[in-house]
Structure formats: structure tokens, C-alpha cells
């Protein structure tokens, strides 16, 4: 009986190890991330348009990124290839230009401007926010000896309320993580529009019931 039990257990273990968490051998790649060469071409096409040349002439205009817009035309039919969306952000007036480009033909299909739009933080902007925060003596005093082990993560604060002091500004909340845990203090925001670091105490209300 003991031998049968052992055999059963071994068999079950073997079955489980085969089934559990197997990475599909085909490595099916479903990622929609844009290849760097395609992203560069899409960006060049967008930045080559007359409207974009004027836009880029303004100070502090940053390239945000490129992503895929799936192909289905507005009459419901399918197009054989997707278009690419290129976004730029201008700090001076909180404006985003979105360019829809066809990388096959090298053509800008559509270009629109919008204020207070939902535009992601670029990697370069995050690095700037991080550098500003880590150069701030209040932040450094708060993190103390943990500085070398800090992992910094960004969250963009956006508000559609025109009366909010941060409306129209590019504000990033930075989180400081050590291992798996986040530091509760300091609470740091970086206003990239004014390049100011804002340090606040944590919100510690009485515990509820």
C-alpha cells in the first residue's frame, strides 16, 4: 500500500510539474510593442510635417512615444496594416500633438492638438523628475541611508479641474521602494513644468473601524 501511495504521489507530482506554469514552447509573441526602427521612422514622418516643425520650435517640447493604432476603416472594413500614433508634448501651454502616420507611405494621415490631454510620461521626463527629487536635500534627509537601495517609480497626477493649482501642469508623484516595501514618508511630487520638488508629510488619519 505504501508503495502504491508513493507511486501515486510521484505520478501526481510529475503531472503537476508538466501542467503548471509551462511556458508555451512556441513562445507565441502577441506583443504590440513597436520595434525601435519603426518607432523612429514614425517619429521622423510626424516631425517632418510643417505643423510639427512649428510646434517643435517652441521651447520644452518633448517626444512622448509611438504606439500602434489598429487598422479598421471607419466604414467597418479592415485595412491590411495598422497606423502609428506619435505624440509630442509642449510644456508652455500644456498641449499635446497627436500625429497619426502611415509608415508605409511616409504620410501624416491626421494631426491634432489638444490641451490637458491624457498623455503618458516619457522615460526622459521620468528621469528628469527622479534627478530633481534625488538632488533635493529634504528628500535626501527623509530617505537617509536607504538612498542607495531606492527604486523610484512614477505616477502622473492629472486634473481636469481648472481651479486646481496643478491644472495645466506636468506633475509627477514619485514613489520610493526598498525591496518589496514602499516608504510612507516622504510624499514627493515633482512639478516638471516649474521644475520644483514638493515634499509633503504622509497622510496619517486615525484608523477607522
Amino acid at each position: 500500500m505504501k508503495r502504491l501511495a508513493a507511486a501515486c504521489a510521484l505520478s501526481l507530482l510529475f503531472s503537476a510539474s508538466l501542467a503548471s506554469g509551462q511556458v508555451d514552447q512556441q513562445r507565441e509573441s502577441a506583443a504590440d510593442d513597436v520595434a525601435p526602427a519603426v518607432a523612429q521612422r514614425a517619429r521622423s514622418i510626424a516631425e517632418g510635417s510643417p505643423q510639427m516643425r512649428n510646434f517643435l520650435a517652441a521651447p520644452r517640447t518633448v517626444f512622448i512615444g509611438v504606439d500602434v493604432v489598429r487598422g479598421k476603416d471607419d466604414d467597418g472594413g479592415r485595412e491590411p496594416a495598422p497606423l502609428h500614433r506619435v505624440r509630442h508634448y509642449r510644456y508652455g501651454d500644456d498641449t499635446t500633438v497627436t500625429s497619426l502616420v502611415d509608415v508605409r507611405s511616409g504620410r501624416v494621415v491626421e494631426q491634432t492638438e489638444a490641451r490637458n490631454a491624457a498623455v503618458p510620461l516619457s522615460v526622459g521626463e521620468f528621469e528628469e523628475a527622479r534627478a530633481l527629487a534625488l538632488a533635493d536635500r529634504r528628500v535626501m534627509a527623509a530617505v537617509g541611508s536607504l538612498r542607495e537601495r531606492l527604486v523610484v517609480e512614477p505616477l502622473v497626477v492629472r486634473t481636469s479641474d481648472a481651479s486646481d493649482a496643478w491644472h495645466g501642469r506636468r506633475v509627477v508623484r514619485l514613489l520610493f521602494r526598498v525591496g518589496a516595501d514602499y516608504l510612507s514618508n516622504p510624499v514627493v511630487h515633482v512639478d516638471l513644468t516649474s521644475r520644483q520638488v514638493i515634499v509633503q508629510p504622509p497622510h496619517r488619519p486615525e484608523r477607522g473601524d
Binding site: M1, L4, A5, A7, C8, S11, L12, S15, A19, S20, G21, Q22, V23, D24, R27, E28, S29, A30, A31, D32, D33, G65, D67, V69, R70, K72, D73, D74, D75, G76, G77, R85, E110, A117, A118, P120, E153, P154, L155, V157, R158, T159, S160, R173, L175, F176, R177, D181, Y182, L183, S184, N185, V187, P202, H203, R204, P205, R207, G208, D209
Partner: protein, 378 residues
């Protein structure tokens, strides 16, 4: 493993005859063979009461990208092996995840905020019955419980599930798409992981902002309707209404639980019994979120399809176009209200030691008259 060996194991485990019979079948629902195409899975579900004979099937295309998470880029359903595939979805995804805190600030957009990646999937994520595709997407075929029961007869429903986890700084979002053997589609967002550092005890809302591009039996010919059912406290009778959504034009719809409000997308095509095929949109949530932002003033929006309208910037996309006999998109907000509890964690030095348990919300898309007669009942 042979059947006799399995029966012996089951008997040893005290499972008896029923357990032994179960042990003869696979311990987990059976995956259909891989399609061999990237980002495409198919699943055939067995008939009842003859397990093994194929009945309904789903063909689902999916994709993922940094800053977008996991999303569906096509779904077709087959009501029987000898029937053609019927397209149901062209695209279903989270357009964003809006997270306002009760103090009024901050207000985060956790999907479009930054190029947040998906978390690599682990064996623990996949569990004993799942597998991992592309290193990030968990692919499961699971039971969703009883589909029906009739005295001694019973059927357990099965569901093809694709899910992945978005690493949005301190939060994890589980994006889960289910495709059931009866044609139902389940869209779910789970919010979990760490509360916002420095505001660990502040209440907040994780709003899933869904964009669902229905292409029922193809892109054109879809119409939006509003269904309501009203009972009365002063009479014994009840009434039902089925009317064109917002007079047939783009607009919004609020769900009134006392009226059983449903949004319905109906196609011009019919099942073989001659009735139009349609899908009913049923929110799965606790409460109706309302925020200052205009897009969060209503539960549903319906717009005509425009390829560049991907963001949840409503009512910007609403400009009085027809949503009858057209190619339409449904937008829906699901609020996951998070009021932290004492037992969720504690402060330890300068850190919060605790985790937010997962909260789920979303909606079900339930077919009506997709079948001539369901093959899932004897």
C-alpha cells in the same frame, strides 16, 4: 498513466466510484490544440451529456503592449462544429484606469500614466491547470461552476480565460477576459497589491474604463437598444420596454437597478430560428461611480466606431451620429471602491506592511438568440 492505475490511486484517496470516474478524465479541463499563430487561441467545449463530443467553440485573438496591458483584438464564436464562425468582438480593452482619492487629490490614470509593463507570469500564477503564453499571459480553461441543474442531471460550465497583470507602480491590475461555452464574455479588472505610500488608509476608487468594439456578425449592421423591466409596488403586473438607445443616436445610459436596465447590441442578422442575434451588457459591480470628470457622469456611452477614438475622453466622441444599423463602440465604467480596513496592514518603521486584497469588477456580455437551440442542454 493507465486507467487502472488511476482508479487504484483514487480508491486509495477514498474517492470511491465517482472519484475514480473523475480520475479517468483529465484532472483539468482540456486545452484545444495550439493554433500555431501568434496571439491566437481556440477552445472547443464538449457537449452535454456526452463529454468529449465537440459543441461550441471560441476563437480569440489577443495582444499586449507596454502602457496598454492585455487586450482582445478579436473574438468569434461557433455554435456547433458544422456551423461557421460568428464574429462577436473586434476589440475589447481597458481604455484607462481612473483612480481618484477621497481628499480630491491625487487623481491618477493608472493605465495611460506611464509605460507600465505587464508582470512576468509565474508557475504560481498559472496554477495546476494553466499555461503561460509569451511569458506574460496566463491561459486557462476552467470551470465557472454550475451552468444548470435538473434534479440528478447537472452541467458544469467551462470558460477559456486569458489574464495578465499590469505593474502600475504600487498597484497591480489583473486584466481578465473570459469566454464561456454558452457564448458569454466576461470582462474583469482586479485591483490589488500595495496602497498608495503616504496615503495608505485613504479611501479611493479604481475605475475600470472599458472600450468594447462590438462587431456582431461583422462590423456593420449593429444597433444599440435599451431594455428595461419594471415591477410595481402598487400592482401585480410588470412591464418590459425595448427601445432604440437614446433615440438611435450617440449618447449615454445610466443603469437603474429598480428598472433592470440593460444595454443591448443587436445585429441585423438572425439565428436560424429567425430571431435577431444580440448581446446584453450586464455590469458586475458594487455601486455606480460618479466623479467630477465628465466621462464619469454616466454608466454607459455608445458611439459610432472611429479608429482614432481610443481614449475614454467622453463625451468628446459624442456628436449625434447614428448608432442604429452601424459599426458601434460601447464604453462602460466599473468602480472598484477601496476603503482600507484595519486588518489590511500596519506601519512598520517608515513602511506600510500590508497588501490590498484583490477587488473585482467588470461586466458580462450575454448572448440572446445566438443559438437556434442550445447544445449545452440534453
Amino acid at each position: 498513466m493507465n486507467a487502472a492505475f488511476l482508479r487504484a490511486c483514487a480508491a486509495l484517496a477514498g474517492l470511491g466510484a465517482a472519484g475514480a470516474a473523475g480520475a479517468q478524465s483529465a484532472p483539468c479541463p482540456v486545452f484545444s490544440p495550439p493554433t500555431g499563430q501568434p496571439g491566437l487561441v481556440e477552445q472547443t467545449f464538449p457537449t452535454s451529456p456526452s463529454p468529449g463530443a465537440p459543441a461550441t467553440a471560441w476563437r480569440v485573438r489577443f495582444a499586449h503592449a507596454t502602457g496598454r496591458g492585455l487586450y482582445i483584438t478579436g473574438a468569434s464564436f461557433r455554435t456547433a462544429p458544422n456551423r461557421p464562425w460568428t464574429q462577436i468582438l473586434y476589440d475589447a480593452r481597458l481604455a484607462d484606469i481612473f483612480v481618484p482619492y477621497e481628499a480630491g487629490s491625487p487623481r491618477f490614470y493608472d493605465l495611460t500614466n506611464y509605460n507600465f509593463p505587464l508582470v512576468p507570469a509565474t508557475a504560481a500564477d498559472a496554477g495546476p491547470c494553466g499555461r503561460i503564453i509569451d511569458g506574460k499571459v496566463v491561459h486557462e480553461v476552467t470551470s465557472y461552476g454550475l451552468m444548470w441543474k435538473d434534479d440528478q442531471a447537472v452541467r458544469h460550465g467551462q470558460e477559456l480565460v486569458l489574464w495578465a497583470t499590469l505593474d502600475s507602480a504600487n498597484y497591480n491590475y489583473i486584466m481578465r477576459y473570459g469566454f464561456r461555452d454558452d457564448g458569454t464574455i466576461t470582462l474583469r479588472l482586479g485591483a490589488t497589491s500595495r496602497n498608495l505610500p503616504g496615503m495608505e488608509l485613504m479611501g479611493h476608487m479604481h475605475n475600470a474604463l472599458w472600450r468594447i468594439d462590438m462587431d456582431l456578425n461583422g462590423a456593420g449592421g449593429d444597433s444599440a437598444y435599451t431594455y428595461e423591466h419594471v415591477e410595481s409596488t402598487s400592482a401585480n403586473t410588470a412591464s418590459d420596454t425595448f427601445t432604440p438607445f437614446n433615440g438611435g443616436r450617440e449618447g449615454w445610459l445610466d443603469v437603474d437597478p429598480t428598472r433592470f436596465t440593460e444595454l443591448v447590441v443587436r445585429d441585423t442578422s438572425t439565428s436560424t430560428s429567425g430571431t435577431p442575434i444580440s448581446y446584453e451588457f450586464r455590469p458586475v459591480r458594487n455601486g455606480a461611480p460618479r466623479h467630477r470628470e465628465a466621462f464619469a457622469h454616466h454608466d454607459f456611452w455608445v458611439t459610432r466606431y472611429r479608429g482614432t477614438e481610443m481614449l475614454y475622453t467622453l463625451p468628446q466622441h459624442v456628436n449625434n451620429e447614428s448608432v442604429m444599423n452601424s459599426d458601434i463602440v460601447v464604453w462602460h465604467i466599473t468602480g472598484l471602491r477601496h476603503d482600507p480596513r484595519n486588518e489590511d496592514g500596519f506601519f512598520q518603521g517608515n513602511s506600510w506592511n500590508g497588501v490590498a486584497l484583490v477587488m473585482w469588477g467588470g461586466l458580462d456580455l450575454r448572448p440572446r438568440n445566438l443559438f437556434t437551440r442550445t447544445p449545452l442542454f440534453p
